[in-house]
Symmetry: C2
């Protein structure tokens, strides 16, 4: 614990996230949904998607980019698909509305999809789908990220950081198997941190504006980040761009960038979530039990390697028991916004 | 062209693949479906999934592992899910049966799933789903691969090579956007080739039986291959193992290995395919046109980087015009099997 950190309860963190949003005109439904996810990220020590994001959201309202009172509209529930128009508002409130509809569809048909359009998503995808797996459903989700990832062997941004997430239910008392990964080899924030501290970046992370490999953070930030895992990560990044963009009639990452107001807030775009009901697929309860036992044995037998989500879930247990550490500087900044 | 290569038409390659299968007792339906996909792999110069695989399939019949006459059974068509039991036969014939059922479900409900159980899949996944995208559907598929991939930071096999594939329709006259990737950083065959030629393998590909990083092919083959892209590739490999295994009530990679007869043929396991109808998701025709234009511009603007599938599709055009080159040695071997 840093001398400058303060320790807050989950509810206190939630209120700390919610107040600046309400203050700048965000409706109660939006602010509640957003504060819940931000507090969860803080509890999981996933700080890059925590309280630090609130200021960007406030700026995005102040710049006029995001409609803070947007009332999401369910556009269609034909077949096994739910389509929701966020109408230029933040994504988390419409996702809260859409998830039960999606879950009902998945339970009825075995598999279902939720397409959310015209939204601003600023948070971690794992938080959106972990809750589906806690209700016994398998879930996948993806959205368009910042337009700064090159193709393998490429020299300029071709697609977005395009996160993709997956959640699978575990047994009673265990958190779901959940991961959330971006298509880039490293988060842009990591490069920004090196720039600030004057460090160089490892070879293979990025190219400069001319497309040449670089280890200089400032050149990387003006150029493009490489996809993770070479052409495989690039393929997945392109997949997400197609699924959360044209497939659902929404923006591609370059288009989202072109209309952005650069206020530090999230980019406009689409979001796709799929849900699968194990009962329809043949695995049933015994398949879920088997998966659970397998994941437990993997975690035990392959140390020090970890399963995705392990560190986050351990942090959450600590946070709920002992409180959440928040830097004094961030705390004060959020109070100033109120 | 090697002096020892012979040039065959697509139909001749198909017959060359089919004859040994029929000869060893594979039913006409199975042999036809398998020969079609093998010939397509040869046309695409994806040789590792081409004619070379036929001998393993013949051995898998001779060893008694695969039922060459298995009649797949449609177990359930409830909701948006089709479940087929392959009853211990090869996978491609039941996939041929299941695809139209899956496509009908996707057109009715917007999204649908096909779970195939108790099958032996030996071929490239792209061939299974490219045909779905040619009919205007988005498709994903995955199956369990050989149990030899470690977790990132791990030291022993934890899951299979678990291929995952995605296909998205393109405009008239263009082949779909398709990729097919395994969870390992490199195919086991690449390591085997280095062993035969006495070369070492790059650092980062594999660990030995004790879990130590190795550059010796023989130690790597006794140990484990690393996932592509570190923990991200491992997460995707685990996802596939859950989706094509426990979710559909089928084997995990370690179980498939444990019951295998090591005849050189494919492993037993499950297979999951998802299909999405763009018309239901909001993208409609304009979304597909936009995706097509975007992919065309990416391919043009980001040379020498290539989009997935580009090399295969170019090879197919050449092969259909000029014929397919088959090594004399492989040709003779297949004739011997007849």
């Amino acid at each position: 614990m840093d001398r400058d950190d303060i320790r807050l309860s989950f509810d206190a963190v939630r209120r700390l996230a919610e107040q600046p949003l309400l203050k700048c005109g965000v409706s109660r439904e939006h602010a509640e949904a957003m504060a819940e996810v931000v507090a969860l990220a803080e509890a999981d020590e996933a700080r890059s998607h925590g309280l630090y994001r609130i200021e960007g959201c406030v700026q995005a309202v102040r710049s006029g980019k995001v409609d803070p009172q947007a009332r999401p509209e369910v556009v269609s529930t034909a077949g096994a698909v739910v389509r929701i128009d966020a109408r230029g508002g933040f994504a988390l409130h419409p996702l809260r509305l859409g998830r039960p509809l999606l879950a009902d569809k998945a339970r009825e048909f075995g598999i279902a999809a939720l397409a959310l359009n015209n939204c601003y998503h600023f948070s971690a995808l794992w938080a959106d789908i972990e809750i589906m797996a806690e209700r016994g459903l398998v879930a996948l989700s993806c959205t368009i990220g910042a337009h700064n990832v090159a193709l393998a062997g490429g020299s300029a941004p071709a697609f977005g950081t395009n996160p993709f997430a997956f959640a699978f239910p575990r047994g009673e008392g265990r958190k779901p198997f959940v991961f959330d990964l971006s298509s880039s080899v490293v988060a842009k924030g990591e490069i920004e941190l090196r720039r600030r501290s004057g460090e160089s970046i490892p070879a293979g992370w990025a190219v400069d504006r001319q497309g040449a490999p670089t280890t200089k953070p400032e050149d990387a930030l003006a150029g493009a980040i490489m996809p993770f895992g070479g052409h495989k990560g690039a393929a997945l990044g392109l997949m997400v761009e197609l699924l959360a963009g044209p497939l659902i009639g929404d923006l591609k990452s370059a288009e989202a960038l072109a209309i952005d107001t650069h206020d530090g807030g999230p980019l406009r775009g689409g979001y796709l979530m799929l849900a699968i009901n194990p009962g329809h697929l043949g695995g049933n309860d015994s398949g879920l039990e088997e998966a659970d036992a397998w994941l437990t044995s993997l975690a035990r037998q392959h140390k020090p390697a970890r399963l995705p989500g392990t560190r986050r879930h351990a942090a959450r247990v600590r946070s709920m028991a002992d409180g959440i550490l928040v830097s004094r500087c961030l705390y004060n900044r959020l109070l100033e916004l109120c």
